[in-house]
């Protein structure tokens, strides 16, 4: 039919034909999906390969700091747009050696932008492919990478460049030390829990056990959630995390 000629009867019949034909065509398209396999990934328990292994190489998961390689430049902390990296480097008064006193990352604040890893000159800070770190307490999401003050890394031309630890191994050891089901409250922790969160958590949980919780030190070998435990178990581990000696210390001694 040309556009100029109007023919209602023809339009009417064409509408009927279009309705029937497009329904037939649409049904054949949906029916064709019955011949295909579903592409659903049944996370977390019915997958052929762990999701961590299927992630692309450049996936930006939870940050990991290998303090053995850290030069103490604090470029990462300066570049972080939200200030979730807390790196404290001070010179030892006696030996004039610069010591890393604290290197902790609040992964509850981190937005996984990757600016810090770009800034890191020695490759000490990097994204892993781990992403499971759910926790009952927001303060448990602060991951410390330094237990005791330790000297910064100095690159020398005479020494061969150190080989970095397998990606994710250090973070896995650190995550295994954090309880996922208990609020964290280290005595003398400079990061004080905000009052309202404290009341909310303790009022909801066991108010009578408050003193126990506060007095009890955080156990090194704490319960990890089943999902994160499974993720951690699959990772190449540099050192096993014993109850009394964290992996970083053992490495330093050796």
């Amino acid at each position: 039919m040309t556009a100029t000629r109007q023919c209602p009867a023809r339009d009417y019949l064409r509408n009927i034909w279009n309705a029937l034909y497009s329904t037939w065509e649409g049904m054949s398209v949906t029916l064709s999906h019955m011949y295909r396999r579903p592409i659903t990934t049944q996370y977390p328990d019915r997958i052929a390969k762990p999701v961590e292994d299927r992630l692309p190489e450049r996936y930006r998961g939870i940050l990991e700091a290998e303090v053995d390689l850290c030069t103490g430049c604090q470029a990462c902390a300066r570049d972080c747009p939200i200030g979730c990296i807390d790196a404290e480097v001070r010179a030892d008064p006696g030996s004039r050696q610069r010591l890393i006193h604290r290197f902790s990352i609040d992964i509850g604040k981190c937005m996984y932008c990757g600016l810090c890893t770009d800034a890191c000159p020695s490759g000490a800070l990097r994204h892993t492919q781990l992403f499971v770190a759910s926790n009952v307490d927001v303060l448990n999401l602060v991951i410390d990478f330094v237990d005791e003050p330790r000297p910064v890394h100095k690159a020398r031309k005479s020494e061969p460049a150190p080989t970095p630890a397998p990606r994710g191994s250090i973070l896995a050891g650190r995550l295994a030390r954090i309880a996922w089901d208990r609020p964290r409250d280290l005595p003398g922790d400079p990061r004080q829990r905000p009052v309202d969160i404290k009341i909310a958590i303790e009022g909801r949980d066991r108010p009578e056990a408050e003193t126990d919780l506060l007095a009890e030190p955080m156990l090194p070998a704490a319960k990890a959630s089943p999902a994160s435990r499974a993720a951690i178990a699959r990772l190449p581990r540099a050192e096993p995390a014993p109850a009394d000696a964290p992996p970083e210390e053992a490495k330093q001694d050796a």
């Binding site: 009927i16 329904t23 065509e25 398209v29 949906t30």
Partner: protein, 417 residues
Amino acid sequence: MTGTLLATGGAPRTDLVGTLGDWAVRITGLSGWKSGLAYLGAMVVVAALLLAFVALFAGPVTWVERRVAGRMQSRIGPNRVGPHGFLQWLADGLKNLLKEDLVPREADPVLFRLAPYFVWAGMFGTFAVLPFSAAWIAADASIGILYVMAITALVVVGLIMGGWASNSKWSLLGGMRSAAQIVSYEIPTALAILCPVLVAGSLSTQDIIRAQGGWPWQWIAFHDPFCLAALVVFFIASLAEGNRTPFDIPEAESELVSGYNTEYSGFRFLAFLFAEWANLWIMGAVATLAFLGGWQLPGVPADVQAASILLNVAGMAVFVGKTSVLVLVIIHLRWTLPRIRVDQMMNICWKYLVPISFVCLLGAAGWMLVARKLPRAGVAASVALSIAGAALVLSLFVRARWNRLRMGAAAYWKQLT
């Protein structure tokens, strides 16, 4: 109906209530007005059987629909409860039973509580005349099809009652829409189903099936082109009557939250959904009995089938099979077509379906006149039409396969893994 139930003529009973009632009278030796009690008991037993059937259909079909929907969207669908997720319907039902049964403060409490019963009764009432096999029908009423059309109208009352009593604008709009839709679409439904009534010469559901045969060219759908068109019209209109997509504007989520059942929760909500799913069976069963040969087995006369239990079982298998295929088509359509607008819905009804169904009715009547003069031509046309119908179904599968190969799903999947 009472007359047919209590009549004890020479002809063998072909309905379940009558057969059971006769048997109970013989066992108990009741006489006079007391024999009515036996028939009352038979009615209760048959109703319980039907209720069990409806529940065992409406529950699992939700799982079937969700699995099919999943596959059509390249998902898996529910697969956690029981083998392949089959017990999902039990889990859903249990969840709904445990939910709070809430009546909104501003709602009309009496009507609000009453509405699900109307919807449910309107749905369940039709099962009285829906056959399963030659001798297996609750009541072989002589007005069967008329009764189905009449009692499904009760659903409208329930829907608009629920919409009004909820005292919520979404519910009211949904109720109004469903009333407008169901009342409009009853006209093409009734006109389309008049074609088989015309061909069979009876309103009784069993008589309509007896007028057909076991082979596809003996079905009323392929009696003549007008009856085939009437089947299409009936199918579309019954989709609209059952508030199924693409005609589910009474519960259009994007506009009305959930339509007339927005304010319902717990078991009352379940009653609405139960009726909606059971309605799938009614749509499929009515189309099967009126157009697709019902329980007829190829080469077996209807009275022979009625006398044998084994043949009755075979007939029921055929009927359930045909109805299930139609239910799958309804599900398939739901996950294929988008929801249409209100004005489009009214357009389709009044400008297309109603005139077409009138043409079908007149055409079928004219065809019958001609076919009486030329019986061989009528049979030839029926065979040609049934071959065309089979070709259409086959073409869908061929086209689907072609679609799948064209998209290269295998390559796509390979790349993912």
